[in-house]
Symmetry: C2
Subunit: 251 residues, 2 copies
Amino acid sequence: MTSPAGSQTTARAPAPHQHLELAVSTVVFSLRPGPAQDRPTLWLPLVRRIRDPFCGRWALPGGPLEDHHDLAASARETLKATTGLEPRHLEQLYAFGDVDRSGQTDQRVVSIVYWALVRPEEDAEADHGDNVAWFPADETLRRHEDGTAPLAFDHGVILRYALQRLRAKITYSPIAHAFLPEEFPLTRLREVYEAILGRDLDPSNFRRQVLAQGSVESTGRRMTGTNHRPPLLYRSAPNRSRYTLTIEENP
Amino acid sequence: MTSPAGSQTTARAPAPHQHLELAVSTVVFSLRPGPAQDRPTLWLPLVRRIRDPFCGRWALPGGPLEDHHDLAASARETLKATTGLEPRHLEQLYAFGDVDRSGQTDQRVVSIVYWALVRPEEDAEADHGDNVAWFPADETLRRHEDGTAPLAFDHGVILRYALQRLRAKITYSPIAHAFLPEEFPLTRLREVYEAILGRDLDPSNFRRQVLAQGSVESTGRRMTGTNHRPPLLYRSAPNRSRYTLTIEENP
DNA sequence: TCAAAAGTGTTACGTGTACACCCATGA
DNA sequence: TCATGGGTGTACACGTAACACTTTTGA
């Protein structure tokens, strides 16, 4: 049983009259070549804090809930402003609201956290400010947990949970497409699964299963310029799964 | 694709300077004999609103986020106060925060919604105020959606999502136990599944699958006073599933 | 002609489902 | 002894995993 939020506490230290703030943050995942040029790896953008608490540490991009914006819209807006990203897939992750998570005794922050998937091309276009940088997700989590480079606030907990959710969801939902361009050969798609699940998949079985499931459809066109047999290109098929349990729509 | 929250809006009607409030509500499910004494049915407690907006309508139990309480603790506290319930299973459902969901132009309410499972005995003990009553879940949702008896705010949307989540989760997680007393024959457990999924299950296969999965263990004792072969009693086994993706702990 | 990746076919195995059958108790 | 639900055994369908094999391109 994972319990990143800690056990359910009833009452905490008596902080007199905390100010309540509502924030929206997002864990953005992108798939890029790994640090050692090998298989693709999950990366995420972080923002360096320039004031206390946790000044100097890295944190998830986010900001206060904006007036006149729904929660998801606020997440999109803040992401656009801080990282230039407009993610293809955006989904609510969890609401974090422990009394003492803000790191300040006079303020309580409740964060509605979203998670997002973007294509590698998109983050390349984005113009990052000086205080935004991308990091490999697994390494970031590891360095948070062993104390080498802890993230601000409870963002390490949030990152761990987001990774869990991504890895769980990819096994029953065709979200892998959100990492890829419009058209792609099935091998690209398989590499996405392999990167996220952290293990190799049998190419032939993968092919059959994906096609049987109907989440992709052939474009009829083939890739060119390969030094081997040119593969067929596929596109993501309209979602016809019966058990969708999402609330946010995605474009 | 279900989209109870509506499509992702960017900007809404320009309400000048809304006051922001953070609330915590809970969808509580209990399994009771159905309206026609037949198979068990899902019920939930609702609270009648005694002021505008939506005065007179039924709403989910909830209240403002309490100082010095974490989110789940606040949910428990409010539930205890309004319905006398102390649910066995409590889990965060979703955060609802559309700009116009409060029904008032000068106020914006973001609700962190939990869902809970209680045993029938527990709700019997609870002392309900005059404005609390229990309703069959499916009928309530139907009467909300056909306009016969609409719930307050967006609580119909929330109820629908909670039912979906319950029905999805029961297929891969042993939460059904939360509806039952400490010890129970497997037939009781099967009836829980049948009630929630809305279809009959093969008793022999159900038995084998549940036992193989290891979510229950035998007490060695048998039930007495039946007018047929006395069944073995089982209890819920310590959770050893590897892929738990919950954040709140449950007792 | 060779390397490399695309794509097809075949088989073994495990899991879920349907259903026949026996067991233990009270009436 | 019968009705009722508890509990076991078994055959079959189907999805998944393993892997041998053929196809098509550029170098």
